[in-house]
C-alpha cells in the first residue's frame, strides 16, 4: 500500500469531500465555510464541487445555525456544522448541550440526531481568554454527546468520516495549531474509517504510559524521545476519542508499564484527566506502582501575554517533571 503524506487540513477536506459525495443528505454549514473556503481553509474547493445548496455560509448566528442543524437532523438530514472555533460554540451551547443530545431520550427513542459539530478547539497562540477554550471536558460531561480529538491527519480524516456516519451528535474537535501539520495516510481511494472510542498507541514503551490527545500528542512524543537517553521507555497512548473512552487500551498499557501520566490540553478541575485518573485507580489500582501524574493547563483564564500563556499551558518541562516523578527518577 502506498502511504502518502498530507496535512491535517487536507485530511479534513478529503473527509468532507468523500462524505458529501457519498450521501446527499450531508451538508456543511457555518460562518465563512463557502466563499471564504473556511476561516482556516478547511473547506477549500467544496463550494465549487457541491454548490451553495450544500456548502452554506451563515451570518454570525451560532445559536441559530446550530439549532437549524439539530432540526434538520430530526427529519433525516445529516448536517455538518462548523464552528469557526469551539470558543464560539458557547453561543450555541443550548443547542449543542440541551437539544442535540437530549432529543433521543426525551422523545422516548423517536428522534436520534445525526449531526456533526466540528471546528478548531483548544488554545492556539495568544488569542486571549475568550478565544482559547478547550471544550472537550465540558462536552464530554454531557450524556448523549460523543467527542473525538484527532491529533494526526490520518485520525482527522478517519474520525470525521465516522462522525458524519454516526447516528448521534458527534463533536470533532480539531486544532488550529495542527491544521498545517503533516502525517502519513492511506491512499485517497481507500476508505478510511476510524471507530470512535478506539485509542491508539502512538509509540510503544514499557516503563511509563503517557496518556494524551489532540495538541498534547506531539508534546508527549517529543518528551518520550527525550527519555530514551535516560533509559526510561515511555509509551504514548493517544485517546483519539474522549467519549466513548477506550478504557481497555488504557488499562492494557498501564498493566504493562505500571506508571502513568496524563497530559491534557484542558484545565485540571473536572477535566478529562480527572476522569481517566478515577477510572484507572478504580479498575486497576493494583497495577499502579506510583500515584498517577497529571499535566494540564493552569486553572486561570488564558492570559494574552506570551510568556504567561506558556506558563499556563502544558509544556515539555512540566511533562518531563511529571514523568520523572512517577518513575521516581
Amino acid at each position: 500500500m502506498n502511504m502518502r503524506e498530507i496535512t491535517y487540513r487536507q485530511a479534513l477536506n478529503e473527509a468532507l469531500t468523500e462524505e458529501l459525495a457519498r450521501d446527499p443528505n450531508v451538508f456543511l454549514m457555518g460562518e465563512e465555510v463557502a466563499e471564504y473556503k473556511g476561516a482556516y481553509k478547511v473547506s477549500q474547493g467544496l463550494l465549487e464541487r457541491f454548490g451553495p445548496k450544500r456548502i452554506i455560509d451563515t451570518p454570525i448566528s451560532e445559536n441559530g445555525f446550530a439549532g437549524l442543524g439539530v432540526g434538520a437532523a430530526m427529519v433525516g438530514l445529516r448536517p455538518i456544522i462548523e464552528f469557526m472555533t469551539f470558543s464560539f460554540s458557547f453561543v450555541a451551547f443550548d443547542q449543542v448541550v440541551n437539544n442535540a443530545p437530549n432529543m433521543l431520550t426525551m422523545s422516548g427513542g423517536q428522534f436520534n440526531i445525526p449531526i456533526t459539530f466540528r471546528g478548531p478547539n483548544g488554545p492556539a497562540h495568544q488569542l486571549g481568554a475568550t478565544h482559547s477554550h478547550a471544550t472537550e471536558c465540558l462536552y464530554a460531561n454531557v450524556p448523549g454527546l460523543k467527542v473525538c480529538t484527532p491529533a494526526t491527519p490520518r485520525d482527522a480524516k478517519g474520525l470525521l468520516k465516522t462522525a458524519v456516519r454516526d447516528n448521534n451528535p458527534v463533536l470533532v474537535l480539531e486544532s488550529e495549531l495542527l491544521y498545517s501539520s503533516k502525517g502519513m495516510i492511506e491512499p485517497a481511494e481507500m476508505e478510511l474509517l476510524i471507530p470512535l472510542g478506539q485509542a491508539e498507541i502512538k509509540r510503544e514503551g514499557s516503563d511509563v504510559t503517557i496518556v494524551c490527545y489532540a495538541q498534547t500528542v506531539a508534546l508527549a512524543l517529543a518528551v518520550a524521545e527525550k527519555f530514551e537517553d535516560e533509559d526510561i521507555s515511555a509509551e504514548v497512548l493517544d485517546l483519539r476519542s474522549i467519549k466513548p473512552l477506550d478504557e481497555r487500551a488504557i488499562y492494557d498499557s498501564v498493566a504493562k508499564t505500571h506508571r502513568v501520566v496524563i497530559v491534557e490540553q484542558d484545565r485540571p478541575f473536572c477535566g478529562v484527566g480527572a476522569e481517566v485518573c478515577y477510572r484507572i485507580q478504580k479498575n486497576i489500582f493494583d497495577e499502579l506502582d506510583a500515584p498517577i501524574g497529571r499535566v494540564s493547563q493552569e486553572d486561570v483564564p488564558m492570559p494574552y501575554n506570551e510568556r504567561l500563556e506558556k506558563a499556563v499551558l502544558p509544556n515539555e518541562e512540566k511533562l518531563i517533571a511529571a514523568v520523572k516523578k512517577v518513575c521516581y527518577a
Partner: protein, 344 residues
C-alpha cells in the same frame, strides 16, 4: 480633559490622526512579530468613534467589540498604554493580559474590548441600567459591527433596552463586511437601521466617513436621552481599508470599492472642511500629523521598554478578593456543628 461640548474640531482631527498613526505603527509591529494573536485595524472608520466621542461627556460610558484600539484612544487611554497592551506588557491598559481584542480602561470609562461577536451588546444594557438605577444622566455608547446584528444577544438586548427604556445608543459600524461576508449575504433587511424599528427604538443613519455628521447627529440623540432616558440606534456607514484582521488579504472585495472610500477619507474630509473655513493651515496640519506620528513612535519605544507581567501574578486576577471576612461564617459554623451532632 475638556467636556465634549467644548472640544474643538482641530483637536478631534488630531485624535483621528493619532488613531491612524498609532494603528499604522501597530500594523508594522505586528508584522515584526512584536504583537501576537489577532489584531484588527480600524483604519478608515476613524470618524465614527471620534464623532461619537465628541458628542458625549467624559463620564459617559462606552463599550465596543474587538476592533477596539481607536475606542480606547478616543476615550483618552494613552497611546503608550495601548501599544504596551498590544505588546503584552504589564504597563498595558489591560496589563498585557487582554491583548488587542480586550482593551479595558476603567478610569476613562472604556468598558472593553469584547471579542465574542454580539456578546457585549447586553453588557451595554447593563451599564445603562445601572446609570438609570442610580438616577445618573450618563449615556452608554455601544459600538458593534454589521456582523453582530444577527446574533441572538443583539436582539435580546434591543428588546430589553426598549422595554426598560435604557439610556443606551447602539452604534452599528456598518463597514459592509463581517470578515468575508457582505451585509447583503448576512442580513435579511435592506437597511440595517430598520432592525431598530422592530423594537420600537428610534433609529437613524449617519455618514460614518464624515466626522461632523456623526457628531451632530449623535449630539441630538444624546440630548434627547439625557432629558428622558430611552434607547436609540445609529447606523454609521463606513469602511475599513485593511483586511478583517492582519491575516486577511480581503480578496472578497474590489479595488474599486476600496478606492471609492479612500477618496472619501474621514481625515482628508475634516481637514478640507477646516481649511476651507480658515480654521486650519497646512502648516498646522503638518504639525498635528507630526505630533501624532511622534506619539505613535514613542509608544512603541515605551512598549518595548516596559516589563512583562510577572509570572508570580498569574493567579492574581482569576478571582477578586471575596470581600467576605476570612474564616467560617457563623451560619456555616452552626450547620457544621449540626452535622457533627447528627452523626454522633
Amino acid at each position: 480633559m475638556q467636556p465634549a461640548e467644548q472640544r474643538d474640531e482641530v483637536e478631534m482631527l488630531w485624535l483621528m490622526l493619532l488613531i491612524r498613526r498609532f494603528e499604522e505603527r501597530a500594523s508594522q509591529q505586528y508584522q515584526a512579530q512584536k504583537i501576537g494573536g489577532f489584531c484588527h485595524l480600524y483604519i478608515g472608520q476613524e470618524a465614527v468613534v471620534t464623532g461619537a466621542i465628541a458628542a458625549i461627556r467624559f463620564d459617559d460610558y462606552i463599550i465596543t467589540a474587538y476592533r477596539d484600539h481607536a475606542h480606547a484612544l478616543a476615550r483618552g487611554t494613552s497611546a503608550n498604554a495601548c501599544m504596551a497592551e498590544l505588546f503584552g506588557k504589564d504597563t498595558g491598559c489591560s496589563r498585557g493580559l487582554g491583548g488587542s481584542m480586550h482593551f479595558f480602561d476603567k478610569e476613562h470609562h472604556m468598558y472593553g474590548g469584547h471579542a465574542i461577536v454580539g456578546a457585549h451588546v447586553p453588557l451595554a444594557c447593563g451599564l445603562a441600567f445601572a446609570c438609570k438605577y442610580r438616577n445618573e444622566d450618563r449615556v452608554t455608547l455601544c459600538f458593534f459591527g454589521d456582523g453582530a446584528i444577527n446574533q441572538g444577544s443583539f436582539h435580546e438586548a434591543l428588546n430589553l433596552a426598549a422595554l426598560f427604556k435604557l439610556p443606551v445608543i447602539f452604534i452599528c459600524e456598518n463597514n459592509l463586511f463581517a470578515m468575508g461576508t457582505s451585509v447583503e449575504r448576512s442580513t435579511s433587511l435592506k437597511q440595517i437601521v430598520d432592525r431598530a424599528e422592530g423594537y420600537d427604538i428610534p433609529g437613524c443613519v449617519v455618514d460614518g466617513m464624515n466626522f461632523r455628521h456623526v457628531r451632530d447627529t449623535l449630539s441630538e440623540v444624546v440630548e434627547s436621552i439625557r432629558k428622558d432616558p430611552h434607547p436609540a440606534f445609529v447606523e454609521a456607514r463606513t469602511y475599513r481599508y485593511r483586511g478583517h484582521s492582519m491575516s486577511d488579504p480581503a480578496s472578497y472585495r474590489t479595488k474599486d470599492q476600496l478606492e471609492k472610500y479612500r477618496l472619501d477619507d474621514p481625515i482628508t474630509r475634516l481637514r478640507a472642511q477646516l481649511t476651507r473655513e480658515g480654521k486650519l493651515t497646512n502648516e498646522k496640519f503638518d504639525e498635528l500629523d507630526k505630533e501624532a506620528k511622534q506619539i505613535a513612535l514613542e509608544s512603541v519605544k515605551f512598549a518595548e521598554q516596559s516589563d512583562e507581567p510577572p509570572l508570580e501574578k498569574l493567579y492574581d486576577y482569576t478571582y477578586a478578593n471575596s470581600g467576605v471576612e476570612a474564616g467560617v461564617s457563623p451560619a456555616t459554623k452552626d450547620s457544621a456543628a449540626d452535622t457533627a451532632a447528627a452523626t454522633k
